[in-house]
Amino acid sequence: MPEQMLFATEAALNGLMAGVMYSLVALGFVLIFKASGIFNYAQGVMALFAALTLVGIQTGQIPFSHLINAIFGTDLHHFGWELPAIVAIVLTGLVMILLAVLIERIVLKHLINQEPIILFMATIGLAYFLEGFGDLMWGSDIKKLDVGLPQGINETIDRVTYDAFGYGFFIDNLDIVATVVAGLLVLTLSLFSQYTKYGRALRAVADDHQAALSVGISLRFIWILVWSIAGIVALVAGIMWGAKSGVQFSLSLIALKALPVLMLGGFTSIPGAIVGGLIIGMGEKLFEFFVGPMIGGATENWFAYVLALVFLVFRPQGLFGERIIERV
């Protein structure tokens, strides 16, 4: 049935777009994994923290006002300013860099040469901490994030497709923006890791901390660098997702949508993050579209994982991940 085909196409297109949104989160994971072999569980919380900070700065919220009020019995709320979005974004970017520096100083520095699972665990600790810290700093109410991104159906596409097929496709403007941003990010980051000596250093660090140290690669510098970039990627993800659903705790759970993407694309591949996102996004939407109704729906969560799992059985390192070296 042609109508069914149209619907499926629309679902697939939207899936691709949703996939891009997942990729934005996955990208942060990839960067850090690539540079240090750390599976950064805190990436989702970092996105939340970035978004909270952005809104806080933009609307002039006084940080920790709740705590201060509780201790001193004051009644502080806002500084009373409204900053332009761009200024707030830049300031938040700086905060994320500061955060990267602190994380390196306080946590990573002491965990050089530890097993990956220990580092993973440390990032979970970090996630806990940041979650509490973010809430304490900015409060746990829902915040509206408004940096002027367009949202809602794209009229042009709707009209054009309607004229062509008699059925207007729904594509969200926000998704289009996200796609453009993600494309740019992937491009820049790929170039960075491919063509600079830092790119090589990143991969060296991921392979062997000690050896990297021994050739004079400063782990501290590399880590601050990638965690800063990952922080900024988290900010971008936070902005996109925050615009979609408001800024509050659940934002940190988008990490779970990024994991299958990561797995499918390969933990170490920047382009993998985007390709994986596209496949996952489209796959889960199409599955939900065709099979979902038969088995009761809400299949997206597990389907993404199962899809990735099936891929992995054939390519254990993901689509573009580095081959896992097995030798004796």
């Binding site: 090589r200 991969r203 392979d207 901390h209 000690q210 050896a211 140290l213 050739v215 070296i325």
Partner: protein, 272 residues
């Protein structure tokens, strides 16, 4: 040959103690001096503490949960034991770690290039790369292979080549001969000597192959269970009867056969 007394001391290790995991005491007061422009050998049996000494110097101990608890390490008269390993590399000290430690996902060439991480002179780096390839033609053949898939000896070459790429002032070599074919062992030591003589690079090498090491080194220290038990100019050590017996495997009648060893059981036990 260099005379330790006459030249400037580059590296000085004063009576250091090293503890792993807060409980395992490994070095019990090791002191040594490395003269500028010399080749100093660190000899001793398994577990004597050679690797630990080198790691203490290059600040890599901390990443193994080891710690220098006493004594001091001075490089060019400056205390270096709290420095970041990367800073030490920038000061000109680089270590070739025991057990190769190549970046296995990087190709051989990329491995070599990371050696030049601290440098920015592009043209010179390319020239040095060619130099390393000329030392180790085998590496050139395998330059595009991921290091993880190369043979043990190839990895060892890669590790040494990588250190050379950083144009250091001092190289700490941990068991450079391990796993290398005999003619390569000679070759490596020839390279060491050449680099030392032509470019004035200082070497401190831990080596089990006492025979070769003492032929190329100027001065030697012998470590036994965390202590320096003997030191002296290499030529003297080579002539020392104990060294001859236990480290060089020479008996009065020249080299003894490994098959004969069976008949006499570990005499050293009684010798103490």
């Amino acid at each position: 040959m260099l005379d330790a007394g006459r030249t400037e001391t580059l590296l000085e290790v004063n009576n250091i103690e090293v503890i792993y995991n807060h409980v395992i005491l490994v070095l019990k007061g090791v002191s040594l001096t490395v003269p500028k422009g010399g080749i100093t050998a660190l000899l001793g049996g398994n577990g004597a503490g050679k690797t630990t000494t080198l790691k203490a110097i290059s600040s890599l101990l901390r990443s193994e949960r080891g710690e220098v608890t006493k004594g001091s390490i001075l490089y060019r008269g400056q205390r270096v034991q709290d420095l970041d390993p990367a800073e030490l590399v920038r000061m000109g000290v680089i270590q070739v770690m025991e057990g190769r430690h190549c970046f296995e996902h990087l190709t051989i060439e990329e491995n070599l290039l990371t050696g030049a991480y601290t440098r920015s002179d592009k043209g010179q780096i390319a020239a040095d790369l060619e130099m390393v390839y000329s030392y180790f033609p085998r590496l050139k053949e395998r330059r595009r292979s991921q290091a993880g898939y190369t043979s043990g000896g190839e990895q060892q070459m890669c590790a040494i080549g990588r250190a050379l790429m950083s144009r250091p002032e001092t190289i700490l070599l941990d068991e450079p001969s391990m796993g290398l074919a005999p003619q390569l062992v000679e070759q490596i030591f020839e390279i060491v000597r050449a680099v030392n003589e032509n470019e004035g690079v200082t070497f401190l090498l831990a080596e089990q192959n006492t025979n070769v090491a003492l032929r190329y080194a100027h001065y030697g220290y012998i470590l036994e269970s965390g202590r320096v038990v003997m030191d002296g100019p290499a030529a003297e050590l080579r002539e020392n009867p104990d060294v001859k017996e236990f480290y060089l495997g020479m008996s009065d009648k020249g080299r003894k056969s490994y098959r004969e060893v069976r008949s006499y059981r570990r005499r050293k036990r009684w010798l103490g």
